[in-house]
Assembly symmetry: C2
Homo-oligomer: 331 residues x 2
């Protein structure tokens, strides 16, 4: 075959996202069709910057993360996404994927979401494809389910769908609709023992997962309404419940997954008290011990001070709401 | 009426119990008919010692707990049980109830279970009644659901029943059937914010409670089998799951109840690792932050040492398996 790519290299940026209504467990583990819909926003301050270059001279796909060559499962997952792109573009060329993240990997701050959203956009563009947002979101989902939510910007809902083409995320409010920030209390920056991907596959071993999924439409509606009307009290109630429901399923699956640590509980215990003192703040935890404190921007500094009174984080990252995945360079 | 009691004073001892399969939520809040069956053993080292004296000269029921006069809700609950006894005995005399506990009250170590079991036995005996174990267990249940499990000894199952007469606890293995102890890590000896009684009434506001209840027969069977065959691995798996399932419901009810504290999580995180090092130990938590480490007696000292490595308890209480509620004096 002849190498006829017009564009063969592209660099993209995508943000991780924090789920307000969580994704946990698949209807289909191969396609990452989720058991329930979810809602999130992108984290503007955090990003994965990814360059993909297709080159006929490459003997195999190569992956470099934060300047370090990566192999094993990480490379295999990247190659699997490149295969999807190559199939769409009818291309048979290996690629070099270079990704840089400005935040810790594998600790429950959605590094794989940011990484696969950036990769889906960079790989498709470098392969000469011009996919619309829906197709990009579907493609990102194949790499890591929640990556589909990092394609659109602002407040995002992942429509669970029933097939590869019907399971994607859409924006339902712009980043500036509501001036919220995520105060991320990093309690642990070492990779977690059980990754989200493995966790999803055992979600239905919990006797509670079916009930969690059945109740999801109600929680999605409550969250959508809270965002639409900027009702912080309602938002706090539903996102804390939803976070607790996901962790309830995790800790009752087989084997059980206990992502919380002592500092996580100390913060979860404290937050409702801060709220009753007038701060607009609520907690949510992804598949890791780090605590995401969703709060009004005006309260972020006070929240940060209060965090230090009850826990000893290794870092605190404050992020506003981010835009969509985007191309920064393509040649 | 004439005061014709032959016996008008009785002193009893009853132990609190630790549930291995938990009771949380009622089918009937007035009768304390539980949503699901439960399994427990009594804690030999802990006891409530209660004296009940009926006297025509008393103008009202009086309650003294640990040498301090008690009124309010505590007295109202005691009087309600005395009313049940008076109705059975066709008696119209007030009583003085004096109770002494050798462990902290209202912190999730089942003080009300021990107290109401001791009271049911003392009050009925002082009133001249000679109730069999089944009737005593039903009576104790009216005071505090789990008190019915403190009437029989050894390993006990509360048969949930469908009516006042069919909901009671029975012993299915003697105290010496299996030499287990409960290493109680007391992290907090202040009364909890939300008592179990109030918690039971909101259990079904959790979207997960129905699933928890529906799965209970399976967990009861697994626990019974583990005890019958003294299979510690199986016991550990089912009791940790069941504890997590109860707390999952608590933390997703409306309002949410988060009984865990930082020290609770630190211990829950550590226990599976200790087990993989060969110790026979498993955790379970009642409606409070204190962690009950069920373990083989031979491992109790090592467990105590390990506890001090990961937490700073205010006390550690070690208790073997106790016998039934008993009369120590009646005149």
């Amino acid at each position: 075959m002849t190498f006829t790519l017009e564009i063969h290299s592209a660099t993209t940026i995508a943000h991780p996202n924090i789920a307000l209504i969580k994704y946990w467990g698949n209807r289909d583990d191969t396609l990452n069709l989720p058991a329930n819909g979810s809602i999130s926003f992108n984290l503007a301050a955090l990003e994965a910057r990814t360059n993909v270059t297709f080159n006929l001279d490459f003997p195999a796909d190569q992956l470099v993360i934060n300047q370090e060559p990566a192999g094993g499962l990480a490379l295999a997952r990247v190659s699997a996404m490149l295969d999807l792109v190559r199939a769409m573009a009818k291309l048979n060329v290996h690629a070099l994927v270079e990704s840089t993240l400005n935040f810790p990997i594998g600790t429950g701050i959605a590094s794989s979401a940011a990484g696969f959203a950036a990769l889906a956009l960079a790989a498709s563009r470098a392969a000469g494809l011009d996919l619309n947002d829906k197709k990009l979101s579907c493609l990102a989902r194949r790499g890591s389910g929640s990556a589909c939510r990092s394609i659109p910007g602002g407040f995002v809902e992942w429509l669970p769908g029933i097939s590869d083409e019907t399971s994607y995320a859409v924006s339902f409010a712009a980043p500036d609709h509501w001036d919220l920030v995520d105060v991320i209390v990093v309690l642990q920056n070492q990779p977690k023992k059980t990754g989200s991907r493995e966790g999803h596959t055992i979600a239905f071993t919990s006797p509670l997962q079916e009930a969690r999924v059945a109740d999801a439409p109600r929680r999605l509606q409550a969250c959508r309404d809270a965002i639409r009307w900027k009702d912080f009290g309602a938002l706090a109630e539903i996102i804390e419940l939803d976070s607790n429901m996901m962790h309830a399923v995790m800790m009752t699956s087989s084997p059980p997954l206990q992502y919380w640590e002592a500092g996580s509980i100390a913060l979860m215990q404290a937050v409702p008290g801060w709220r009753s003192e007038g701060l607009q703040v609520a907690y949510t935890l992804d598949a890791g011990p780090n605590v995401h404190l969703i709060c009004a921007r005006k309260d972020a500094e006070m929240v940060r001070e209060k965090v230090l009174e009850v826990s000893t984080p290794v870092d605190i990252i404050v992020s506003g709401i981010g835009g969509p995945a985007r191309i920064v360079r393509s040649v």
